[in-house]
């Protein structure tokens, strides 16, 4: 479904992404992890077409995205960005309806089908009671759900999420990730999601990609990537890996205190 082949991205003279190749199939959730500045958000931006590629390609269903117009691309890939600096006065409904932009003309005339899609996306993300509210007034968790609804209204086969749980509390983290997981399974979406939290990545991901300094350090099932050797080397903190009491997936327990002699 989503094929990323030997992707290079430069910021000026600095290489932000170096030879990244990834593949995400329909019904699969790939989580990208890595330390700060590893290039996780850059990967999302580059794959979505918001950054120029220095080399490499991104294909969705065999379509080369670099050959498509922004509108054609936005029918293949939808992005849930980090909820920051949202326009204060735009209502939730307007925002989600903007997800239909790739299907609209220059004037943005919406038809019945577009309102249908927006409504379905709002329902799916439990945002229906928010429709009249301005997005600027919502809590962080609500904003993140609205952005997810907007991406769903785009009705794309591929979904990218950039750290959707960063500012959310435990309850909102797990309800958002449960929703993403349901979308992957029920709608057979191919999802690439950046997460900071290694344990959430372990519980929800089918595949994990570990990014360091713009390079792909490891790629595989959570148990293959989340190893003491990998993480200690990448995060410079000694860790213990213990099995999750319910699912047996690896849980990461940092042990920096002992290493610091405290």
């Amino acid at each position: 479904m989503l094929e990323i082949k030997s992707l290079f991205v430069n910021y000026g003279s600095r290489q932000a992404l170096n030879d990244i190749s990834l593949e995400v199939n329909a019904g699969e959730l790939l989580v990208v992890i890595g330390p700060n500045g590893a290039g996780k958000s850059t990967l999302v931006r580059a794959v979505s077409g918001a950054l120029p590629l220095a080399h490499g390609s991104v294909h969705v269903n065999g379509l080369d995205l670099s050959r498509l117009s922004p509108a054609q691309r936005a029918r293949q890939i939808a992005v849930v960005p980090q909820a920051r600096n949202l326009p204060a006065a735009v209502t939730v409904y307007q925002s989600v309806l903007m997800g239909r932009t790739p299907y609209l003309g220059w004037l943005g005339h919406t038809g019945q089908h577009d309102h249908h899609s927006a409504h379905a996306a709002l329902e799916r993300t439990s945002c229906l009671e928010l429709v009249e509210r301005p997005v600027g007034e919502l809590s962080g968790g609500e904003q993140q759900r609205v952005l997810l609804a907007r991406a769903l209204a785009q009705e794309t086969p591929v979904l990218l999420l950039d750290e959707p749980t960063t500012h959310l509390d435990l309850q909102h983290q797990s309800s958002l990730l449960n929703l993403v997981r349901q979308l992957v399974v029920q709608q057979q979406l191919a999802v690439l999601m950046v997460l900071h939290d290694l344990n959430l990545a372990s519980i929800y991901a089918d595949l994990i990609a570990l990014l360091v300094d713009g390079k792909l350090k490891a790629l595989g099932r959570p148990a293959q990537v989340l190893t003491e050797a990998n993480l200690t080397q990448v995060y410079h903190v000694p860790v213990h890996i213990i099995p999750h009491p319910e699912y047996g997936s690896p849980l990461v327990l940092p042990d920096g205190r002992k290493a610091a002699g405290l």
């Binding site: 918001a50 117009s69 922004p70 029918r75 960005p81 326009p87 997800g99 932009t101 790739p102 004037l107």
Partner: protein, 342 residues
């Protein structure tokens, strides 16, 4: 009444009232009823006996009507381009005057007049082109000076606008001091008082403003999406960079045409879109047309005040708009400081 139609109806009624008042007021007051009958009488095929003083017809058709249309077009241009600048820059204080575009356009127009611009109609019709070039250079300069990373903070935008505007204004003054008496008349014009009368300037400004406003009217949806930032707009399928340039070109063309014939008039492009958003919401598909209609009405009323307050002396309309606009600007600035506006 239909909810979406009401704001347009209110604005259009306001415009109609301002339009009639503008024709009525002057050294000779012509009652609105007479104006309506003179206008109807001017249409081919419908004629009734004229029961008003003979010279009224000439006053209306040759003096008041062209002046009113020029002011109407100028106000529409300033309102529409102000709304567009605010949308593109995502900044409520972007106004063609405050960001220096109007002064740049003024410099372009004066520079063209100073270099023996072709006389006659050709010269008249192409002065907006010179003003357009001046406006474009200014908007590019201010934008690149004010930009901090990928944002355009209010403080740097206004500071850059003031600096560039001061520079353009002093260049303009220099050009005028060095040239002959004819050009010195332009000082009055630069303060926002049209030096031209009759239908010629109206016809000269019309094509530029129609093209510019037409483009702006069609970009409401793109401006809505751009409120989420260029990156998200691209991800939603809008070619953000190209669209931004197109809207800035259209807004600068519109501003330049207005400045070329009516001088530098500030604050209409700030006040009107601001009120439109405050009262009728932030959807640019309606903010733009409402700002165009509202801008026309507001400038007609300001011009009315300028012509009648100290009659028979005529105050340049730019002074009136600044007297009302500057306090408004400070009020918006305070609001923008106290709350996250966008």
């Amino acid at each position: 009444m239909n909810r979406t139609a009401r704001p347009y109806l209110i604005n259009l009624l306001l415009l109609l009232a301002a339009f009639i008042l503008s024709i009525a007021a002057g050294p000779v007051f012509i009652p609105p009823g007479t104006i309506v009958r003179i206008l109807i009488n001017g249409l081919p095929g419908i004629g009734s006996a004229a029961d008003w003083p003979q010279n009224y017809t000439a006053i209306v058709h040759q003096i008041r009507l062209p002046h009113t249309f020029l002011i109407l077009l100028t106000g529409a241009a300033l309102g529409g381009s102000g709304a567009a600048y605010q949308g593109v820059f995502r900044n409520p204080l972007a106004d063609p005057y405050l960001i220096g575009v109007a002064s740049g356009a003024g410099l372009g127009a004066v520079a063209a007049m100073a270099v023996r611009w072709p006389n006659g109609l050709l010269g008249l019709y192409t002065i907006p082109v010179a003003a357009f070039l001046g406006a474009l250079i200014t908007v590019a300069l201010v934008y690149s000076l004010a930009r901090v990373g990928r944002t355009l903070p209010t403080t740097t935008l206004i500071l850059a606008g003031v600096a560039v505007s001061a520079f353009a204004t002093s260049l303009t003054s220099f050009l005028m001091l060095r040239s002959n008496y004819e050009l010195r008349r332009a000082i009055g014009w630069l303060l926002g008082g049209s030096i031209l009368s009759g239908w010629e300037p109206v016809l000269a400004v019309l094509p530029y403003i129609l093209i510019g406003l037409g483009l702006l009217l069609s970009s409401g949806h793109a401006l809505n999406v751009l409120q989420f930032g260029e990156e998200q707009a691209t991800q939603l399928g809008i070619p953000a960079e190209r669209v931004k340039v197109l809207i800035l070109l259209a807004a600068s063309l519109t501003t330049a045409a207005a400045v070329a014939f009516s001088g530098v008039i500030g604050f209409i492009g700030l006040i009107v879109p601001h009120l439109a958003r405050m009262i009728w919401g932030h959807d640019y598909r309606s903010v733009i047309p409402l700002s165009i209609i509202g801008g026309a009405a507001a400038l007609l009323l300001a011009d009315l005040a300028a012509r009648t307050a100290l009659a028979p002396q005529i105050v340049p309309v730019g002074i009136v708009t600044a007297l009302v606009g500057a306090p408004f600007f400070l009020w918006v600035l305070r609001r923008a400081k106290n709350q996250v506006y966008w």
